[in-house]
Amino acid sequence: MKRVNAVIVGAGAAGGIVAKQLSTAGLSVVLLERGKWYTANDCRKDDLRNQRTTVLGNAFGPEDEGNPRVIVDANNVPRIILPSEGGYQNNAACVGGGTLSYGAMAWRYMPQDFRMKSTYGAPEGSSLEDWPISYDDLEPYYDKAEYEIGVSGDYSGTPFHGPRSRPLPMPPLPANREFQILEPAAKRLGLHPFHIPMARNSVPYNGRGPCMRCRFCVGFACEVDAKNGSQNTVLPTALATGNCELRIESFAQQVLTDDRGRATGVAYIDANGHLQQQPADIVIVSACAIESARLLLNSKSRLYPSGLGNRYDQVGRNLQGHHYTGAVGYFNFDTYDDVGPGASIAVADYNHGTPGLHGGGAICNEFIRLPIQMVDRLPANTPRWGLAHKQAMRANYKRTIAVMGPTQQIPSADARVTLDPSVTDKWGTPAARISGNVHPHTFDIGLVQAKRAEAWLKEAGAVGTAINAGRPTIVSSGQHQAGTCRMGTDPKASVVDRTCRLHDVDNVFVIDSSVHVTNGGFNPALTIMAVAYFASQSLASNWKGTGFRS
């Protein structure tokens, strides 16, 4: 197989950007994606089989057959989990990755989110740490992501954000009814509500039309292609250069290395089930936190007996996501207008600065609700079945508002991805095994956040509320998974340096949420994209044509 400059594993939020940046800089690129290539026509509006409600399977991968993971519960009992089950901690497997079907919230983390340890100190038993890069380092790349991917919204309502070089490229969508109900209530509470930034066209942008505001949003491919992900922005640009070849249904099994310890390419299973080797000068792993760690751990060799980049047993540690908590409010007037995407308003007043708490998170109204999602969200005294349940569905469906938020998790080194000793995928590759939990202080913060959400709903006129703030016993990473290949300056306590290059191997990079030291109190997509632009920039500018400038 013809040697290329770079092989990238994973065509998601980060991989798509790296492919575009390298191919437009003149490097030859092969982009491997284990999933399929879906289009807007694959929306299908199937509320039992999408990427959020998966009772009949994942719409955008992976398939249930042949892709198991193992979850170790709090009692140390391992259990095999299928991709469409909740515990699998799935994101997606398709061109575009999570960005094909995500809700598309596109936040910048706050300056404090990059120096959590300096701001708060690390709680005992946690692995809370600062990023080796700052908000200021990333600001130009946040800006680039907002303009190249396309973000709508309006930060002007809140003072709680880092300095910006310019406003977002698109205005927010018009306020839906929940926004109109919640905004004055937040202001009465002295908060600073604002329009959630979304990677979604509110006006024609990048040659595509605006959102048509339907119900089939989060979890679905956008039927009118108004939701912006790598599949409809950077990937077409990368492919148009002629320098980038996208190979779908190609599962990377191992990063190959030579006797001197440098990477020589990637071994993968192609769409026909054949083992192939793609030689390359550099390898970029962008498979999302769990699968990136799994790929490195599976890349064992004589020089790397415990996996690539894992000399100090750091790969797979610090797995995190977000701890979602909040409240549901029940109203005696209609609050729901069925106008997508639903999520529209946020406050960022509670992300930092509460005495006694190591952080917090944004609080937002939830995405539009499918009827099936309402079945178990009725007032607490509702019977679970029978006529009363049916009537409660009717009475409450349009009269509830859910306000939730991604509490920033305090990471722990024990929450980790390893390889299962016996369970393998359909190709015989050892499966990811997920164990441990984030630091328990996370749940204290989550409870406070939920009470704040409840107070907001009450101020907005809720006649009843239900708090939703659990203390999960297993790390909850899911679609927001991050942290498994920590970025840092100390090779013994991190996996990659500030340019996302493995400490151990100078031509292997991990560029995705794996490198997040902490995961902010916001959905991570835009930060994944900004880090991808940042890392690609240093990669491309140090490339001499055959190797790196020393």
């Binding site: 026509n41 199937d46 048509m212 339907c214 119900r215 099936i372 006529l387 049916k390």
Partner: protein
């Protein structure tokens, strides 16, 4: 003089409603219009499951679970995505029938409505795992996409006040078709 309705062709919606009434009549007349058509259930099992589903979502101004096609949904999925639940249904329905004959001397389908409620309440206590499974699948069939055989004619969505199809003028797909995964 009233208009001659016979000369006005039925709209598609009217036709569907007329068809539903027709098949409801057939159901009353000969117990079922689906005899022998189930992919997984036997005829007796389908009648027992009808009792369970219709207690979980009974009829009021809007159809009951079975009237909205929930059994079709469950039956299809037991041969597709829910193959792993086949033993649970086989055993659970047999258990339900035993419970019924023990307590009432008759199969669930011929009990009076209050007896059926009593039976299902007892089942929910004695076999919570099976009952929860049926409850979950009944909700999916009733409130989920019509394409899988339940929520016939999007009746639950209309009950909740939602338009169907969701965004008028933009429906590229027939919601009732498509691969039942």
């Amino acid at each position: 003089m009233p208009p001659d309705t016979k000369s006005i062709p039925l709209t598609r919606r009217q036709f569907v409603v007329a068809g539903a009434i027709g098949s409801a009549a057939a159901l009353i007349g000969c117990k079922t219009g689906r005899e022998g058509n189930w992919e997984f259930f036997s005829e007796d099992e389908s009648q027992t499951l009808t009792v369970l589903c219709d207690q979980i979502i009974p009829a009021d101004d809007y159809p009951s679970a079975s009237q909205a096609g929930v059994l079709t949904y469950i039956d299809r999925q037991l041969k597709r995505h829910y193959r792993r639940h086949q033993p649970a249904y086989r055993e659970g329905l047999a258990h339900t029938e035993t419970l019924s004959t023990t307590h009432f001397g008759q199969l669930p389908a011929v009990l009076t409505p209050p007896q059926q409620l009593e039976l299902v309440t007892a089942l929910a206590q004695q076999d919570p795992a099976f009952f929860s499974l049926v409850r979950t699948h009944t909700m999916e069939g009733y409130y989920g996409s019509p394409r899988h055989g339940g929520n016939r004619d999007a009746v639950s969505w209309r009950m909740l006040g939602l338009g169907a199809p969701p965004v008028l003028g933009r429906s590229q797909y027939d919601l009732e078709k498509g691969s039942a995964s």
